[in-house]
Amino acid sequence: MKIIKLMISMFAVFLITACGNQTTKKTSTLDTTKKQGFVKCGVSQGLPGFSNADAGGNWTGIDVDVCRAVAAAVLGDATKVKYTPLSAKERFTALQAGDIDVLSRNTTWTLERDAAIGLEFVGVNFYDGQGFMVRSSSGIKSVKDFKNGTKVCTNTGTTTELNMADFFKAAGVTYEPVVFEKADEVVQAYDAGRCDTYTTDKSGLAAQRTKMSKPDDHIVLPETISKEPLGPVVREGDGDWADVVRWSLNVWIEAEEYGVNSSNIDSMMDSKNPAIQRIVGAEGTKNGAALNLDQKWSYNIIKQVGNYAESYKRNLADTGIMPDRGPNALWTKGGILYVPPVR
């Protein structure tokens, strides 16, 4: 018994020293990225509108645009990104192990992830939330119309299932879950009439609706039963790098607020408005220097990637995934998209 205890404690000591070594050895991600000449970015294995490869082998999506914005800011070229497709389970380890430097993979910002597992969330590029889809013929107009015994189709083993359970418990309505492993199976079951409603994240609902045999026969209910703020993540403990990613994201969104986009930015360079001068990085502004970046960092982002509105239109609106901006409209236009001022 004593020997076992001794061995366990020795192993623990070994682990602690090993971890200690890891935390003392710090290198600046920003410097490494500049030296390497590319941004290492983790994306999904295919999520419509967020990160996806096209037939030509290029990555597109609103999450991908975050990576491209960071590359444009740091290296002046939005194409200098190396994408690593990651499964949901390995994404955080890949970030911690240094396989990637930015994780932009529709990751929900939660307390546990931010505080407990050595990650730093730098902002939100999409506000998602769980919703319900029903047949318009069912007469259900709101989640309040759900009756006892409602059959609900959803994916198994995700937070979606837990949110659904919480929701129905709080509402005091009995329900019958019909769960499947794959999103495609859920959609097929719902389309075939095996359940009354289908629940998943609203961005997913809109994308799946396009696959139905008659998309117009289905509506997404207005209520949202969970908060899913999705945003880019970096490693904890490298403040400079977190700042670069955070402000690349912020300037991308603020450019929309001031009407600066990829086609008019060249004329905006001479703008008299000090806020716009700061956004485009005109002569005399100090934003670039403060971030250890080039003076033209923000110009490069907007010129090469476009502003948030352009990204949204290209990836989510024109593709029919979420034509309506909803909560992702600017705070000035009835949404909740609000970023700190770039100054």
Binding site: N21, L47, A53, G57, K82, K89, A94, Q96, K211, T319
Partner: protein
């Protein structure tokens, strides 16, 4: 006349046979025409986007447009010739193998097993002699499926042979090590092993040092499958009559000499079906690497079907993947049968 007799004898010999025949014909009737019209008659074969698909049948345009991605993954388009070149060399050598005499066969065999793997890795990965480096993160599609299968098969076979011999060894250290190794790897599911290799392993490494994820995955699959191969080969070793061992010993052969010259050639011949079985299973297990973010054939199909411009074409993608997997597995099983017949000595 012959046909009528045959039909009467085999399909309509009594009333329940007749009933069964009609039921089966009815099942064919309700299932085959819709399938054929979906796959061929109503299908769209040529086009450039989903809009070209007429609606009722399969949309093979999807496969046609995405074929490059399904085959090569995210490999840079201007570097694809390197993969093609490696596979052309590979199939050329394999093809030549059947037509040349024994002496050249030996040279070709050595080339294929010793030189070619390095040549292929050099071509795929580059980074030397002016060849642009292509990191494994962009490898994918059928190319990655074949790469992982071929390398795992090449490595796991010799390890398996050694483990099988080790398990029958009289030296306790070697025997218990082999037993422990085999039982450990057989006792855990492959998906767990892959998770350990891809997710946990980097955490144990000191920061800064990193082993490529693909290498970690290949090592994991190799160790896992070598345990199964070892057990298959052990079956062959035990099937060799004791007289063969005695005969080898009485000729003054030592352990290694008797195994290499007498025992293993016979044992391996017996276990060809089992080994082929394991290799086919290995090939079909490769889609599991999806869970660690490697995008082999099925991964690329999954990626393609979630592209906003191609939503709703999952069935076509899966049918395509199934056909490709079937072709390779069937070829492997046919080849093993051929090998069995070739090596059959009349006894």
């Amino acid at each position: 006349m012959n046909l009528v007799n045959w039909t009467r004898k085999n399909l309509f010999s009594n009333w329940h046979d007749t009933l069964l025949t009609f039921i089966i014909l009815f099942l064919f009737y309700i299932s085959i025409p819709p399938l054929l019209s979906w796959m061929f008659f109503d299908a769209t074969f040529f086009g450039t986007s989903k809009k070209d698909c007429s609606g009722t049948g399969a949309c093979w345009v999807f496969i046609q447009v995405w074929l490059k991605r399904f085959t090569y993954g995210m490999y840079p388009n201007d570097q694809i010739w390197r993969i093609d070149l490696a596979f052309i060399i590979f199939f050329f050598v394999i093809g030549a193998y059947f037509f040349v005499n024994t002496k050249i066969k030996k040279i070709l065999f050595i080339f294929l097993t010793i030189i070619f793997p390095f040549l292929a890795i050099f071509l795929f990965h580059g980074g030397l002699f002016g060849l642009e480096e292509v990191e494994t993160r962009v490898w994918g599609g059928l190319f990655l499926t074949l790469f992982i299968s071929v390398f795992s098969i090449i490595f796991c076979f010799p390890i398996g042979v050694l483990l099988a011999m080790g398990r029958r060894s009289k030296l306790p250290v070697i025997r218990y090590f082999s037993i422990g190794f085999i039982e450990l790897w057989r006792g855990v599911p492959l998906i767990t092993v892959l998770f350990m290799a891809a997710v946990m392993f980097p955490v144990f490494l000191p920061s800064g040092t990193n082993l490529d994820k693909l290498v970690r995955v290949i090592i994991a699959i190799t160790l896992f499958e070598s345990a199964y191969i070892a057990e298959v080969i052990r079956g062959g070793l035990q099937a060799i009559p004791k007289g063969q061992y005695d005969a080898a010993n009485s000729l003054g052969m030592g352990y290694w000499k008797s195994h290499i010259l007498i025992i293993l050639p016979q044992a391996l011949k017996i276990v060809i079906p089992g080994v082929a079985n394991t290799f086919i299973a290995l090939f079909k297990d490769t889609p599991l690497i999806l869970v660690v973010g490697l995008m082999e054939l099925l991964g690329m199909v999954n990626m393609a079907k979630t592209n906003p411009a191609w939503l709703g074409l999952a069935t076509e993608g899966y049918v395509f993947a199934a056909i490709v997997y079937f072709i390779f597995c069937f070829a492997m099983s046919r080849y093993s049968l051929r090998l069995e017949k070739q090596l059959k000595t009349s006894n």
